[in-house]
C-alpha cells in the first residue's frame, strides 16, 4: 500500500488522521522507541508501556508535529519524556546488589565476540553502569553514547542547550568510566 509513497508523505497522511498510514508509522518506528525506552528504564514491561503510550500520544497530538524537526526526534522527545516521568516516579532509587558474578559478566563482556545478551542481562549491565547517575545525566548518556544520537538531537529532545548536554555527558562518562576502572582494580 505504501510502496509508492515516501516516508515523509506517509507521516503527513498519518498526521491528517489516516489510520493505515499511522499503522505504517507505528510498525516502522516502534522498535526505535522500545530500544531507547528499554535502555533508559532497564525494564522490558515498562519499555513496552512507553511504546504504547508514546504512539497514542503521537496520534492524539500529531497536528502539533512541526515538520521542521525530524519525525524521529519528535517521537523520541515524547518517549523520553515518558521515560523521564517513570524514572522520577520510581519511589525508591533503583539499587542493585552488585555480586561478583555480575561484575565478572560485565567486565568479560568485551571478550564475547557475538555480543548477544538476553534482555535481562542487557538490563543488568546498563543498570550496573548507570544506576548512580541522576536521571538527566543517565538519559543524556544513553541517548548520546548508547543510542548514538547527535548532541543537537539530544539537546532538542531534552530541551536543553547543547553546552548543557555536553557538560552532563562529560560528568556521566567520567562517573561510569571511573566506576568501571574501580571494578577492574
Amino acid at each position: 500500500m505504501q510502496n509508492d509513497l515516501n516516508e515523509q508523505e506517509i507521516i503527513e497522511r498519518a498526521k491528517h488522521g489516516e489510520v493505515r498510514s499511522f499503522e505504517w508509522v507505528v510498525n516502522k518506528f516502534r522498535r526505535y522507541v522500545f530500544v531507547i525506552a528499554f535502555r533508559i528504564l532497564c525494564n522490558e514491561d515498562e519499555a513496552n508501556e512507553v511504546v504504547h503510550e508514546s504512539f497514542i500520544k503521537v496520534w492524539r497530538n500529531f497536528t502539533n508535529y512541526n515538520n521542521s524537526i525530524k519525525f524521529t526526534t519528535w517521537l523520541y522527545k515524547i518517549a523520553v519524556n515518558l521515560c523521564y516521568d517513570k524514572l522520577k516516579s520510581r519511589k525508591r532509587k533503583m539499587t542493585i546488589d552488585i555480586t561478583d558474578d555480575m561484575l565478572a559478566n560485565l567486565l568479560q563482556s568485551e571478550q564475547n565476540p557475538e555480543n548477544e545478551f538476553s534482555n535481562a542481562q542487557l538490563a543488568e549491565k546498563i543498570k550496573l553502569l548507570s544506576e548512580h547517575l541522576p536521571p538527566k545525566q543517565k538519559i543524556i548518556f544513553i541517548m548520546r553514547d548508547l543510542h548514538d544520537l547527535s548532541i543537537n538531537e539530544v539537546a532538542t529532545i531534552t530541551g536543553m542547550s547543547e553546552s548543557s548536554v555536553k557538560t552532563n555527558l562529560v560528568y556521566a562518562r567520567r562517573t561510569i568510566k571511573e566506576k568501571l576502572i574501580r571494578w577492574m582494580n
Partner: protein
C-alpha cells in the same frame, strides 16, 4: 600533554573517536609513562564495554501485539460511534486552521447574540418609554403570547395598510385599543361589499368577538392566509 590532561581526555571522550593528532600525543605519552599506560588500558576496556552495550539491542518480543493494541485504540473501525466522534472532534480541533476558524465563528456568533440582546433591550426600553403614560386599561400587552399574536399584526396590516396601532418587537406585541378605533373608522369608510368580506372573515376567525383582545388567540397563520385568499377570490 601531561598525565592529568591525558586522564581527563580519556575519561571524558572515547579513544577511538579522538582526532588522530591527539591519539598520537597520547600514544607518545603512554610509551614513556607506565602509570598512564595502565590507566589507558583500563579505559580502553571500559570504552569497549560501553561500545558492546551500544551494539547490543534488546529483543522486542511483543512488537506485533503492541501495534495491535495501539491500533485498537486509534482505529476508527473498531471504535464505538461516540469514541469515533470524540476522537474526530479532538483531532480536528487540534488543527490550527480549525482552531482559528472555530474561534472566529464563536466570536461572530457571540457578537451577534450580544448585539441582538442589546438591540432588543433598547427597543423594549423605547417602547416602555413611549407607552409608560398609557395605562393597561388602554393598552393590551401580549408578551407571553407574542408568537400567537404575531399573526394578528399581519392580519390587520393586510386590511389597514400598516396603521400605527401596533408595535412589534422580538419579545412582545403591544396593541393600543384606542388606535383600533381608527381602524374601525377606516372600516366604516368601506363599501358594503368590502365590509361584508371583512365581517365574514372576522366571524370565521373570531367567533367570540369579546375575547379578541383578552384571550390568547390560537389560529394558524397559514390558515388565515388561505381564508383571506379564498375571500378575495370570491
Amino acid at each position: 600533554m601531561n598525565c592529568v590532561d591525558i586522564n581527563k581526555i580519556l575519561l571524558e571522550e572515547y579513544f577511538d573517536e579522538l582526532p588522530v593528532q591527539i591519539k598520537m600525543k597520547i600514544d607518545e605519552h603512554i610509551s614513556i609513562c607506565s602509570e598512564c599506560a595502565s590507566v589507558f588500558n583500563k579505559i580502553i576496556r571500559a570504552d569497549k564495554i560501553i561500545c558492546d552495550l551500544k551494539n547490543s539491542e534488546p529483543v522486542f518480543a511483543f512488537e506485533d501485539m503492541l501495534t495491535e493494541s495501539i491500533m485498537n485504540e486509534v482505529d476508527f473501525k473498531k471504535q464505538t460511534f461516540f469514541q469515533k466522534l470524540i476522537d474526530s472532534v479532538v483531532i480536528s480541533m487540534q488543527k490550527p486552521t480549525i482552531k482559528f476558524a472555530f474561534s472566529v465563528v464563536l466570536i461572530i456568533l457571540s457578537s451577534l447574540y450580544i448585539y441582538q440582546e442589546y438591540d432588543a433591550v433598547v427597543k423594549i426600553n423605547a417602547l416602555e418609554k413611549k407607552y409608560s403614560s398609557i395605562s393597561y386599561s388602554k393598552a393590551q400587552v401580549f408578551s407571553k403570547t407574542a408568537e400567537s399574536a404575531a399573526w394578528l399584526y399581519q392580519f390587520y396590516k393586510y386590511f389597514s395598510a400598516e396603521k400605527d396601532f401596533v408595535q412589534v418587537t422580538d419579545k412582545m406585541i403591544i396593541i393600543r385599543k384606542e388606535q383600533l378605533a381608527d381602524l374601525m373608522k377606516d372600516f366604516n369608510s368601506l363599501n358594503d361589499a368590502q365590509k361584508k368580506k371583512i365581517i365574514d372573515l372576522r366571524k370565521e376567525l373570531f367567533p367570540d368577538e369579546k375575547g379578541l383582545m383578552n384571550k390568547e388567540i390560537k389560529i394558524d397563520k397559514k390558515e388565515v392566509g388561505k381564508k383571506i385568499s379564498l375571500l378575495n377570490s370570491k
